[in-house]
Symmetry: C2
Subunit: 434 residues, 2 copies
């Protein structure tokens, strides 16, 4: 569905040019489907908030209203509550980041930081470099400000530096203005892969020498399963990186609290843009989260989340091996997602209605590309359903995929489908994820 309007809309000719880029994501319709209880949804990215003991939140709420009620109910500053920003430094320190409390800007989820940074940097036609595949709602934001999104190839070790280098050369030769590189280097959404430490340094060097800002989005970094991830890119580079963090995955998304850590001059503009957009982030949720971080064993709670998601990741990988041994998929060491590559003739998007009929949902790969790629890919989320439901979901999915392959073999005008190229398990190091 596009949002270009139609002739039933009296205001059809009044919209800004940028609304042409504003369309409903493929994920959106799925949320409606996924909410039906009989469907096993491997589609959404909802964290399993039921694992957060309610009394921890209730206790923090009660103390805030008792001790600091009028401040919680009032407008705050466009930068956010100082005590919360101090806590945010503690959170980021776990991934090697040292910053000043003055350079932290609290936002309405890290999504809003993404929107504001894009508003600050993108003129129509400017290029944003992004992993291919990339986080779907980041692509929506970039397009809503008329950016040209250029995907850079990634493999099981994350963004490929040489591909980045070559892409920049091509774009510069075409006279393009490249504004920033958007990346989710750790347990990426949707690919589930992690950029190696060596590549982080190499990519920072490429960005530096080409005068390209790096927008490092790190919602999942603390949710590792097999030992901590490499330190954040921001840990070695201050001036060239805007770092985005969030409480949505390590605490709860319902508070809508995230943040940006930005170089001074950018941070100043970010505060102004934040004030224009929302006056201030919610004092109420900021004080509650700040109190939670002061009074609870929040690192222990993140450990609880790690254990839950690890078990679910394991369940998904085991079920894929058992039910769909001929496919390729990534093996995430943290985060929420597995990226599956189907045989080249299978269209994950057109297959989705059949999957939903079989009571399983996923997100088609095309959602994560601005350029139509990802046709034979799907993102599977293991964050929300229980291990048993995950296994059942993959079983149902195998029925759908095998039926699809049978259908293709039957009706294919080019004869039986060639499946010799399909390898079990993750892709080889040389292969990209496309």
């Amino acid at each position: 569905m596009t949002t270009q309007g139609n002739n039933l809309d009296r205001w059809y000719n009044h919209y800004a040019d940028r609304t042409a880029g504003l369309s409903a994501s493929e994920v959106r319709a799925l949320f409606a489907v996924a909410s039906r209880p009989e469907v096993v949804s491997l589609a959404g990215g909802m964290p399993f908030v039921s694992a957060l003991p309610r009394e921890l939140v209730s206790g923090a709420m009660d103390r805030v209203m008792r001790d600091d009620g009028p401040r919680a109910l009032q407008y705050g500053s466009g930068q956010g509550v100082p005590a919360l920003r101090e806590h945010i430094l503690e959170v980021m320190a776990l991934e090697g980041i040292r910053g000043s409390v003055d350079d932290v800007v609290v936002t309405t989820g890290s999504q809003h930081a993404l929107e504001l940074i894009t508003k600050l940097f993108i003129n129509p036609g400017d290029v944003v470099l992004a992993e291919g595949p990339s986080y779907v709602t980041a692509l929506t934001v970039f397009k809503s400000f008329q950016a040209q999104v250029e995907h850079v190839a990634m493999d099981e070790h994350g963004l490929v530096p040489q591909a980045l280098r070559e892409h920049i050369v091509r774009l510069k030769a075409d006279g393009k203005t490249i504004k920033f590189l958007y990346t989710v280097p750790t347990f990426s959404n949707p690919a589930g892969v992690t950029l190696t430490w060596e590549r982080r340094l190499e990519i920072l060097e490429i960005a530096r020498s080409n005068d390209i800002l790096v927008l490092e989005d790190n919602p999942y970094g603390l949710l590792y399963f097999d030992g901590p991830a490499p330190h954040a890119m921001r840990s070695v580079e201050e001036d060239g990186v805007v770092y985005l963090g969030t409480f949505s995955k390590t605490l709860a998304p319902g508070f809508r609290l995230g943040w940006a850590l930005a170089p001074h001059a950018i941070r100043e503009k970010l505060i102004l843009a934040n004030e224009a957009a929302v006056l201030s982030p919610s004092s109420f949720t900021q004080l509650i989260v700040s109190e939670y971080l002061s009074s609870s064993d929040w690192q222990g709670q993140i450990g609880v989340f790690r254990g839950i998601y690890r078990e679910r990741r394991n369940a998904m990988l085991a079920a894929l091996t058992d039910y769909l041994p001929d496919l390729r998929w990534t093996i995430p060491n943290g985060g929420f997602y597995v990226w599956v590559t189907l045989p080249p003739h299978v269209d994950a998007k057109s297959m989705l209605p059949r999957a939903v009929k079989e009571l399983v949902a996923y997100t088609p790969g095309t959602a994560f590309y601005a350029d139509g790629n990802g046709r034979n890919n799907m993102r599977l989320s293991f964050c929300y359903p229980t291990p048993e439901f995950i296994r059942e979901g993959i079983r149902r999915l195998s029925t759908v995929i095998n039926g699809e392959l049978e259908l293709l073999n039957t009706f294919s005008q080019t004869g039986p489908l060639d499946t010799t190229h399909i390898h079990q398990g993750t892709s080889s190091p040389a292969a990209t994820l496309g």
Copy 2:
């Protein structure tokens, strides 16, 4: 302070063109000043949230976490929680508005609705018509999307229809594209005046015949002192009006919850823009406010607020009459603000440091114009300080103003200041507020 950056900023040449319009408001620096306890601040627009019984909020919080915890902590829809949208219809019905729950979009304060609507409609150079004077952070939003703001004269009865008509003719003759008319018709910020019913109809007719959308922003409508205000403009015109409301003044701004009621096609785009910007407004605060509206005598609580603000309005008008009888000011029948006109040679902005030295703060009139007007105006807020502090603040202000007039008379190269044009009390019907 502009945000154009400087040569100490490595990213100086990277910002989007629109950041040229993004500057710190004059109100911003004042918030720092106003927070010093010895200063009587008549500058900010902070509602008096201490008048909200904390147990009402705490009770709602506890019930939400007990009965609906996982939903409160989770992501929600980009349109907002259905139960809250039902309550919003009840709130709007008090001002004559009938709408569908499907056409309500919950936003992160009505400020964010303003930002999103502007993002949806404004191409660089498009015209936004706005009252003169107009809400300061609306002007910031418009400029941040490179709109050309054109002020339309208002008097004590609000926007002047004939001035609007003539202005539209001039702009069309210049080939300008007028996208919408932004108006706070009831107890306006900063002027404190209310558009009469007859003028509402006339202005809607002008907008309709010129194909101009009306953006009706109504944060103060329920906070009347001398009987209800005329019904909202949205009550008589559906397709041509986007209506903005908020819980910031009738409940508390700390929740950051407002809404837009928009024609179908615009509402669809608004939801998409909301999703891109923040994914969803906070489920946590939405459910708490929804529970508060279900379980409390919220209309009674608005009555309490009315009583408090009425007393403060009265204190301010009495103090102005007693201490500054030679000035002109508006007489608000609701809301938070009085608009004061100083003698033509007095510059309210350059006088402000002297006022702060005398421990009183106000907002200079120029903050409320995009075109440099309002030099000899000031906005005085009576929402936050007690009646005693308001009286003391006006007393201090009279010292500053009288000192300023003495100074001007002493040093004026054109001889003693002519004060014969100054009338006591509000301006005559024919005069505008400039």
